[in-house]
Symmetry: C2
Subunit: 266 residues, 2 copies
């Protein structure tokens, strides 16, 4: 499957009839797959997808090289989904309030994860999907990185929080990060900005990912999860790194406020 599957690309050349149909089929494959995945009994299978579409299984091989690639295809769609959720939550607050935005976005991530456990597991706890060394970054993680990078830029502009200097960082980590500088996967990698900003981000991402993953897999009492206390505490950890200063009380308030809107997980 070397052919590109256009997703967000603008329609430059008008697609021919066949190409349109093919794209429609692609979309339906993903749609049906995701519906089947949510449908309890965790049963995503090539054959089930084909049957649901009124086709036979081998026909799917005109679109996908293997089951693994089906999963990858779905993964891309899921990535777009979670990003959409985060964007919606972020946009509840104005751009000149990046503190509120990053908090809201984190809640968006959590909210999506708790209501889409199977899909979350597929994307964020799947050995097959976890990036191998050689492979170049997926479109999804790139968009993810860009989303956070943009907020962190505004956060930095506003709060000028402490960024570790190069010699404060672990030598190996520093060299590894600088090596990745040009790849575009590394968020918060703005011109003239010390790599320490990326470090601050990675720390925050680790905390967010870790807490949400723990909650999704219920590796702590479910009552504690439902209370959201663990998640709020984690957000405070992240907030401390950002030097919110005078905004801190307001944002702490908002931090619990935003959480109230969270729907009970499935």
């Amino acid at each position: 499957m070397t052919e590109a599957v256009p997703v967000a690309e603008a329609v430059e050349v008008p697609l021919t009839r066949r190409q349109r149909q093919r794209q429609a089929t692609y979309d339906e494959i993903v749609e049906v797959s995701r519906r089947l995945m949510g449908n309890e009994h965790g049963g995503l299978s090539l054959r089930a997808v084909a049957a649901e579409m009124g086709m036979t299984a081998p026909a799917l091989y005109r679109y996908v090289d293997s089951y693994q690639e089906l999963v990858l295809l779905i993964g891309r769609s899921i990535y777009a989904d979670v990003l959409t959720s985060m964007i919606q939550w972020r946009d509840r607050y104005p751009d000149d309030d990046p503190g509120a935005q990053i908090i809201a976005a984190a809640y968006g991530f959590r909210q999506w994860a708790l209501t889409h456990r199977a899909e979350f597991a597929l994307l964020f706890a799947n050995p097959a999907v976890s990036k191998e060394d050689g492979t170049e970054p997926d479109e999804g993680v790139r968009a993810f990185a860009h989303f956070y990078g943009e907020i962190y830029q505004r956060l930095w502009d506003r709060y000028a929080f402490h960024i570790p200097a190069d010699d404060e960082l672990d030598a190996d980590a520093l060299s590894s990060l600088t090596a990745q500088r040009s790849a575009g996967v590394l968020p918060c990698d703005f011109p003239g900005m010390p790599i320490g900003l990326s470090w601050v981000f990675i720390r925050a991402w680790t905390r967010l990912y870790g807490t949400v993953t723990l909650e999704v897999f219920k590796h702590v009492d479910s009552g504690v999860i439902a209370s959201g206390a663990l998640f709020r505490a984690m957000l405070e950890d992240n907030g401390r790194d950002l030097n919110f200063g005078d905004d801190w009380p307001r944002l702490r308030e908002l931090l619990t406020e935003v959480g109230r809107a969270v729907v009970e997980p499935s």
Copy 2:
């Protein structure tokens, strides 16, 4: 499979010949299963296990009710494994140095996870294994809780770090934790001890679990993972909660020292 599978029980009544044989078969099933799981191609299957043992697949049903139960059986063994790893690392340091012990144990957890990715995923990122609400806690998590509980008791005795009072905790989280008090799953639940100690533990466990899971699934640049910088930074977060005081410089030193022994992950 209602019959008990003795693992750590002392040999009270000498087992009959058949019982011994049966137990040996159980052990071999687990051993072979875990070998197959590590064997690349991630292919754990009932039939493969049976074939490897020179049996036919249906014979396994004399020992296991279903594939799911096979997984659970393996899960128990894995739990014992990771606990053993943590104990070995902990015991590099004397009991009167609980700060060093908790750091070492955390490294033991990470080390095991990075060298047993598939098994880690099975145990800690598996929707099927994640505890459901009604079910009573597994032997493994109980041992896990006891392990940490014991260290935290000594930590508390020595450093008397700050424990949030009941009214400092989230109300819902508090009630949920107190409700679990008698279940025995909740670590750090000593007589007369405020529930806040459990909260401190849970926070630390969340950070540890989160960081290790992130590293196992490579959701951050692999160079950063290899450097161990993220893990050390997380340990410092946890250390701050424990009020190491005068011991902090020494333990910070040790914190990087212990990490040096870590073998390169697979």
